[in-house]
C-alpha cells in the first residue's frame, strides 16, 4: 500500500468511528424505542468503512442488504442529541463574532489548495484529492477547537449529532453510485439506450443534449430524488448518447445533476424543498413555492441544454 492509500484508510476509519459514535449514542438513549436496530445499522455501516477493504466483498454486500432491511422496517431512528442551548449559542455568537466563519471557511480552502499542491508537488503526492478533503476536515476541526476553546469531546458529540441529523440518507450518494455500477454490469444502459434510440435520431447531438437534460428533470420530478435520477439517466442516456459520441464526461456529469435539480424545483415529490416550506411560510396555496419556481426552472433547464451543447463538444 502507498502512503496515500494508508492515509485514505485512516480517514475512512475516522468516518467509521463517527458512525460508531452515532450507534453508541442510540444504545445509551433509554428513551429510544428502536435503539438496538438503530445501533445495528450504524455499526454495520462502520464495519463496511473500517473493515471493507480487508474482508471478502460479498460480506460487505451482505451487510448492505441487512442495513437495507433495517431501514425498510423503519428500525433506524434519531436518538437523543446534546443540542446546544439557544441562549448559550447566542452568548457565544456575541463573544466570537464573525471569526466563527474562519474554521468553516478552512474546509473549502484547505481542500482545494491541498488537492492542487498534492497534484503539483511530488513530495506531496500522498495528498490526493480524497485525502485533501479529509485533511480539510481535520484542519477545520483544529481551528474550531483553538478558536472557541471548546473541550475536544465536542468534536465527537457534535460530529455524531450532525451525522444523526443527516441520518441514513447520507450514504445515498455512495449507494447510488454502486447501483449505477450494478446497472451497467447488468446491461441496463444498453436496454435504455435501445429504447431511447427509437425516438432520438442517431448522431443528432443537440437533440441528445435536450433529451439528456429533460430526462434528468423529468425523472427527478417523478421520483423526487435528483441523485437517483442521475444514476439512471447517466447510464441510459448520458453515456451512450453523449459520452460515447465524444462529449467531455466531466461536463456531462456536472451538468446532469444540476439539470436534475431543475426538476426538483417543479415537483411536489420533493416535499422537503417545496411543500414543507410552503406550509412553514403559511402561503395561501401549498403549491405557492412550486408556482414561483417553475419559470426559473424552465429557463435554467434551457441554459443547461445550451451549456452542454457548447461546452461538452
Amino acid at each position: 500500500m502507498t502512503a496515500a492509500q494508508i492515509l485514505g484508510e485512516v480517514f475512512y476509519s475516522i468516518i467509521g468511528l463517527v458512525f460508531i459514535l452515532v450507534g453508541v449514542k442510540a444504545l445509551k438513549d433509554e428513551g429510544c424505542s428502536k435503539k438496538y436496530t438503530t445501533a445495528a445499522f450504524w455499526f454495520l455501516l462502520a464495519f463496511t468503512f473500517i473493515c471493507g477493504p480487508w474482508v471478502p466483498k460479498w460480506l460487505v454486500g451482505a451487510a448492505i442488504v441487512v442495513m437495507a432491511c433495517l431501514t425498510a422496517i423503519g428500525g433506524v431512528v434519531q436518538s437523543k442529541n446534546d443540542v446546544p442551548d439557544p441562549a448559550t449559542v447566542r452568548a457565544n455568537a456575541d463573544k466570537f463574532g464573525y471569526k466563527i466563519f474562519i474554521p468553516a471557511g478552512c474546509i473549502a480552502f484547505v481542500a482545494v489548495v491541498g488537492a492542487t499542491l498534492g497534484s503539483k508537488v511530488p513530495a506531496l503526492s500522498w495528498l490526493t484529492a480524497n485525502n485533501a478533503i479529509g485533511l480539510s476536515g481535520v484542519v477545520a476541526l483544529i481551528a474550531a477547537l483553538l478558536l472557541t476553546g471548546a473541550a475536544p469531546k465536542y468534536a465527537a458529540v457534535d460530529g455524531a449529532r450532525l451525522m444523526d441529523n443527516v441520518s441514513t440518507t447520507g450514504i445515498l450518494p455512495q449507494l447510488l453510485s454502486a447501483l449505477g455500477a450494478l446497472f451497467t454490469a447488468a446491461g441496463v444502459g444498453d436496454a435504455i439506450s435501445h429504447y431511447v434510440s427509437m425516438v432520438v435520431p442517431e448522431n443528432n447531438i443537440l437533440i441528445a443534449c435536450f433529451v439528456y437534460c429533460l430526462g434528468m428533470a423529468l425523472f427527478t420530478m417523478i421520483m423526487g430524488n435528483g441523485f437517483a435520477a442521475f444514476s439512471v439517466i447517466m447510464v441510459g442516456v448520458g453515456v451512450p448518447f453523449l459520452i460515447n459520441k465524444g462529449a467531455d464526461p466531466i461536463i456531462v456529469g456536472a451538468l446532469g445533476l444540476t439539470a436534475a435539480y431543475c426538476g426538483t424545483l417543479c415537483t411536489p415529490m420533493a416535499a422537503n424543498f417545496n411543500i414543507v416550506p410552503a406550509a412553514l411560510l403559511e402561503t395561501k396555496s401549498k403549491y405557492s413555492v412550486i408556482k414561483s419556481q417553475v419559470p426559473f426552472a424552465v429557463a435554467m433547464l434551457l441554459c443547461h441544454v445550451v451549456l452542454l451543447y457548447v461546452l461538452a463538444f
Partner: protein, 230 residues
C-alpha cells in the same frame, strides 16, 4: 430487453410510493442483477466492491465535527446577524441579497440551514417589511409572491452552487460514478474538475435570480396598483 429495465421500474415505483429509499435502491440492484443472469454471490460481491470503492462519496462526514462545533459557537446566529445588517429598499432586493449569500455559502460548503432557520425567521419578515415600507400595505396575494420568491431563493442558491465544492455529496456522486462506471481515475481528482465545471451553472443561477428579483418587484408594484408611492 424490456425485463432488464425492471430495476429502473423498481426505483421509480419505490420512490413514488415513498417506500424507504435505501431499501428500494438495494432491492432494485439485486433484482436487476438477477434478471441480468448474475448469481446471488456475484451480486453481493459487485455491490460490496462498488460500495467500498465508493466510500469517497461519504467523505463529507469528516467535515461534520468542525461544522458542529462552529454551530455550537454561533455560526448560524452570525449569518443571521449579517443578513439583518444589510439594508435593502425593496422585497426583490432582499430576496436577491439572500440568494447571493446562500449561493456563496453553498459554494464554500458552509451549511447555513434553510427554510426553517433563515427564510421564515429572517428573509420573509425583511422582504415583507420592505414591501410594507414601499407600498404602505400588502395583501395576501402580494405576500404569497414574496414568500414563494423567498423560498425559491433558498433552493436556487442551495441547489445550483453546492457542486462548486469538490467535497459536496453531489459532486462526489458524479465523480464516483465517472470513476466507477467509466474508469476515469481517482474520484477525488475528478471531483475537482466537476466542481470547476459546476461554476457556470452557479453563475447563471445568480443572473436568473437577479432577473427574477426585478420581476418580483415589478409584479408587486402592479399588484399594489395606485396604492404605491410611485
Amino acid at each position: 430487453m424490456l425485463i432488464r429495465l425492471i430495476g429502473v421500474a423498481i426505483v421509480v415505483v419505490g420512490l413514488v410510493l415513498k417506500f424507504d429509499t435505501i431499501a428500494t435502491v438495494v432491492l432494485a440492484g439485486i433484482v436487476t442483477g438477477l434478471v441480468g443472469g448474475m448469481s446471488i454471490m456475484d451480486i453481493l460481491t459487485t455491490l460490496g466492491n462498488s460500495f467500498v470503492s465508493q466510500r469517497t462519496a461519504t467523505l463529507f462526514v469528516l467535515t461534520l465535527p468542525a461544522i458542529g462545533i462552529c454551530e455550537r459557537y454561533g455560526l448560524k446566529e452570525k449569518a443571521i446577524d449579517f443578513i439583518r445588517s444589510i439594508k435593502s429598499a425593496t422585497a426583490g432586493r432582499v430576496i436577491m441579497v439572500y440568494e447571493t449569500i446562500r449561493t456563496l455559502a453553498a459554494a464554500f460548503s458552509i451549511r447555513l440551514g434553510g427554510h426553517p432557520q433563515f427564510v421564515r425567521p429572517v428573509v420573509v419578515p425583511m422582504a415583507e417589511g420592505a414591501a410594507v415600507a414601499k407600498y404602505g400595505e400588502i395583501n395576501a396575494e402580494m405576500s404569497d409572491v414574496i414568500r414563494g420568491g423567498s423560498a425559491g431563493a433558498e433552493n436556487y442558491g442551495n441547489f445550483f452552487a453546492q457542486n462548486c465544492f469538490m467535497g459536496s455529496s453531489g459532486t462526489l456522486l458524479i465523480a464516483g460514478f465517472l470513476a466507477e462506471t467509466l474508469g476515469l481515475g481517482e474520484t477525488g481528482s475528478i471531483a475537482i474538475e466537476v466542481a470547476k465545471w459546476s461554476i457556470p451553472v452557479a453563475v447563471i443561477s445568480m443572473i436568473l435570480g437577479l432577473v427574477r428579483s426585478i420581476m418580483i418587484d415589478k409584479q408587486l408594484e402592479k399588484m399594489a396598483g395606485k396604492g404605491g408611492d410611485k
